[in-house]
């Protein structure tokens, strides 16, 4: 059936080329039927890509090793879940997933926004089709998942690092984020091309952008959890180029989500928002390029391939085209209003935008510098964690401070007196927290102490905002406090969902500072009966044991754990030897304490005779990072939840326009 899969991809490519060319002609020359035909071609391409995906999934499920892709990424003993996840474990499958998600989201956005942005859509279709054509070309000519061979007796198996439950979810979530950023990009560029630079493209893509941003954020955290458990060095984020590749578009999209509110409320920052949308999309392409090209050495990069130059060419084209379009339409994007005061909500958003973008650019430079150095000077250099950590502190702390200050400042202008009144309680809470932490010895990490003080300020500001808002809502007639609270959130989901997301970022900050500034670590070689003590935990080596799993031989060191005279059970770090893959992986043991938020993290580096060489790490507050993921998800859902009142308002507004359109 590989031939059918290949045929489906060729059909998809043909349809996409048609949609791009016919769609552009229809948009330029104003041909209605041709525009409809191009839209149908986009829908047809989604169908053909879905067929190709089903063919590949079928081959994976059947372990049909006549498919080269299946033979290279699965084996007979690989469990079914990981076998199906091999769909996105290799380059060809990943590209197919990119195309499938892009067309799924693109077609949905086109069909669901038909009424809202009908005069922009003729341009959206060829832009989406143009992006999709690039991936279809790669899949048909460069990296097809439907190459065939004489079936070997067994497959090569799946990289052991990828045999982790978090890897089942991480790539699809990441791609939903990356690909989702195509939607606001396509609508923004279409609005520029069609000269419809009013608010409609923003309204039409608001939820798509939020969803893409939320998926990307969750994907980064799921990937961090995978790295924490599977890569096993005791940290959660290593400033690896591929990790950074996902963080950069997320930071730029975060900046956009804030600055677009300024455009909606004040009609400012139109050019800036167009640049941010194009930048977020360009960075998402760059992220895919970094992950898939193998150009940089990364723990997340599992491929060395020839698609790099194609990607670079396409990224250059996207940057050039969007820059040209923004410059061409610059007169339409001029703001008609100005910043009224440097002490206002919009000014706070502007400052946070500058810090977020500056942070993204410094990360980009850190990622690009080794590539440029090697290309220009022939010298291989590595940009290490200290570089990134310096800028994370330099830009991150002001961003956190602004996260607390922003919600407390009024739109337009705020007098210093009113601001002082608003800031009083959160500032007092922050100072008390800082003083208490200092007295407890947290001064050993000055950046950590400042970070915790700022975190307390933000959390207090959020609580203060919810309390003030609920009180105001109660004063306007809500019968009970709970009703006042739900009414408050329900009437402005974006704002209060945003505050919940801020709380998630603060939790993440607390966890990150805990693991980065206050963790304890010790290495030890133990024979049975010997013990090692780290940060109050005593581990006693009980002995080694071996067992056979479905597709690997497992070697484990059994360790009894005790803290404060209390036995906490046993943990078993070790190694797995995978049969088909002929690779060995470290399997760390983690004992989480939900109440303290800390982890006991043990790596069995080596087994030599009866001796085991251990690295024992105690990571305080690390579980707040994972809790932050759940809170982030909750906040994102609040912001994304449909608001019936707003829907009605928009429906009324556009119904008015429809009448006017026909009459005009």
């Amino acid at each position: 059936m590989a031939l059918f899969g290949r045929a489906a991809l060729i059909v998809a490519l043909g349809l996409l080329v048609y949609a791009a060319v016919a769609g552009a002609v229809a948009a330029i020359r104003g041909r209605r039927r041709l525009a409809e035909s191009a839209r149908n071609a986009l829908v047809g391409a989604l169908g053909a890509t879905a067929v190709a995906s089903v063919v590949l999934l079928g081959a994976l499920a059947a372990k049909d090793f006549t498919f080269t892709y299946v033979a290279e990424h699965t084996s007979r003993e690989l469990p079914l879940g990981y076998t199906l996840a091999a769909f996105w474990s290799g380059q060809e499958g990943s590209l197919l997933l990119w195309l499938l998600i892009l067309l799924g989201l693109g077609v949905s956005a086109v069909l669901l926004n038909g009424r809202l942005t009908r005069d922009v859509l003729p341009w959206v279709v060829p832009i989406l089709a143009g992006v999709a054509t690039f991936f279809a070309v790669l899949l048909v000519f460069i990296a097809t998942p439907f190459a065939t061979q004489a079936a070997p007796l067994d497959g090569l198996g799946l990289n052991p690092s990828l045999q982790n439950p978090y890897m089942l979810a991480h790539p699809p979530l990441l791609y939903l984020g990356y690909v989702g950023l195509t939607i606001p990009f396509a609508f923004a560029m279409a609005a520029l091309a069609s000269r419809r630079t009013d608010e409609r493209w923003i309204v039409a893509t608001r939820r798509w952008t939020l969803a893409a941003w939320a998926f990307l954020g969750i994907a980064i955290l799921v990937g961090a959890k995978w790295a924490y458990e599977e890569v096993g060095w005791g940290g959660w984020y290593a400033w690896d180029p591929v990790e950074n590749a996902a963080l950069m578009p997320w930071l730029v999209a975060t900046a956009y989500l804030h600055s677009v509110m300024v455009q909606e409320k004040k009609d400012m920052l139109r050019v800036w928002n167009a640049i941010l949308v194009a930048g977020a999309f360009g960075l998402s392409l760059f992220g895919t390029f970094l992950t898939r090209s193998g150009i940089l050495s990364s723990i997340h990069s599992f491929t060395q391939s020839s698609i790099g130059p194609w990607f670079l060419g396409f990224i250059t084209l996207v940057i050039a085209a969007s820059t040209a379009l923004i410059l061409w339409r610059l007169p339409l994007l001029r703001s008609r209003t100005r910043l009224e005061s440097l002490v206002s909500r919009e000014a706070a958003f502007l400052y946070n935008n500058l810090f977020l973008v500056a942070f993204a650019l410094t990360i980009l430079w850190g990622v690009l510098y080794p590539i440029i150095s090697e290309a220009v000077r022939g010298v291989t250099v590595t940009v290490g964690a200290p570089y990134y950590e310096f800028f994370a502190i330099a830009f991150g702390l002001p961003i956190v401070l602004l996260m607390g200050l922003g919600p407390l400042i009024a739109w337009r202008r705020a007098s210093l007196k009113a601001l002082g009144t608003s800031v009083l309680w959160p500032a007092a809470a922050a100072l008390v927290t800082g003083a208490v932490l200092l007295s407890l010895g947290a001064g050993s990490s000055p950046a950590g102490l400042i970070g915790y003080t700022f975190a307390a300020f933000v959390l207090a500001a959020i609580v203060h905002e919810f309390a003030r808002g609920t009180r105001a809502r109660r004063a306007t007639g809500s019968a009970t406090w709970p009703r006042a609270f739900t009414s408050l959130v329900g009437r402005n989901r974006r704002r209060y969902g945003g505050y919940v997301v801020h709380a998630a970022i603060v939790l993440l900050l607390i966890g990150a500072i805990g693991i980065g500034g206050f963790s304890s670590s010790r290495e030890a070689s133990l024979e049975p009966g010997e013990s090692v003590t780290v940060a109050g935990y005593t581990l006693t080596f009980l002995g080694s044991e071996q067992r056979r799993a479905a597709n690997a031989q497992e070697l484990r060191a059994r360790l009894a754990v005790e803290r404060g005279g209390k036995q906490l059970g046993t943990i078993s770090p070790g190694k797995n030897r995978y049969f088909a893959e002929e690779q060995t992986s470290n399997e760390v043991a983690i004992r989480s304490d939900p109440l303290r938020g800390e982890d006991l993290f043990v790596i069995a580096d080596q087994f030599k005779g009866r001796t085991v060489f251990l690295q024992v790490i105690v990571n305080p507050l690390v579980n707040l990072i994972w809790l932050a993921g759940l809170v982030f998800l909750a906040g994102s859902l609040v912001t994304l939840w449909p608001d019936a009142r707003e829907q009605q308002r928009l429906a009324r507004r556009f119904a008015e326009r429809d009448g006017a359109l026909v009459r005009a």
Binding site: I10, V11, S37, A48, R196, A418, R663
Partner: protein, 160 residues
């Protein structure tokens, strides 16, 4: 055998897609109006005014809420209220004036001369209630929702 089946399936998929792509032309082999709707300058202005109106009304609401929650002092509130109300009222009256002017001018050549969707594809949309010309414009200090009469429709909206 399997190869033949795969080819047949591929060909069937291609034919299906061709039919889908050609559908707009098969459905309407000849049509007097094959133009995409182009927004008129008047409509562009209307969109701009509606955005300005919504922005001004939202700013008033926001100011009110910020005042109630203590983010804006009484003095700042009083100072900001006047200009915001004037801005809202100005947007409302300009929008209203524009709609009145449009309603008083009968459409000589409608921009969408044929009904859409075509009659064989479904019923025409409800043309809506008859407009009520001469409805009073909102007062200059009225920050409430605008009350515009619905416009008459000569045909359903053209959709892509």
């Amino acid at each position: 055998m399997i190869e033949g089946l795969a080819l047949a399936l591929g060909a069937a998929l291609a034919v299906l897609c061709v039919v889908l792509v050609a559908r707009p032309f098969l459905r309407e082999p000849q049509t007097p109006n094959d133009r995409l709707r182009e927004p008129s300058p008047a409509e562009r202005q209307r969109v701009s005014l509606e955005e300005e109106r919504d922005r001004a009304l939202a700013a008033l609401k926001e100011l009110e809420f910020d005042h109630r929650t203590g983010k804006v002092s009484d003095a700042d509130y009083r100072e900001a209220l006047g200009p915001l109300r004037r801005r809202a009222a100005d947007a409302l009256s300009r929008l209203d004036g524009m709609m009145r002017a449009q309603m008083s001018t009968p459409p000589e050549e409608p921009r969408v001369p044929e009904p859409w969707p075509p009659p064989d594809e479904g019923d025409l949309p409800d043309p809506g209630p008859t407009p009520a010309p001469g409805e009073p414009a909102p007062g200059p200090d009225l920050p409430g929702p605008p009350q515009h009469p619905p416009m008459p429709q000569t045909g359903g909206p053209q959709t892509l």
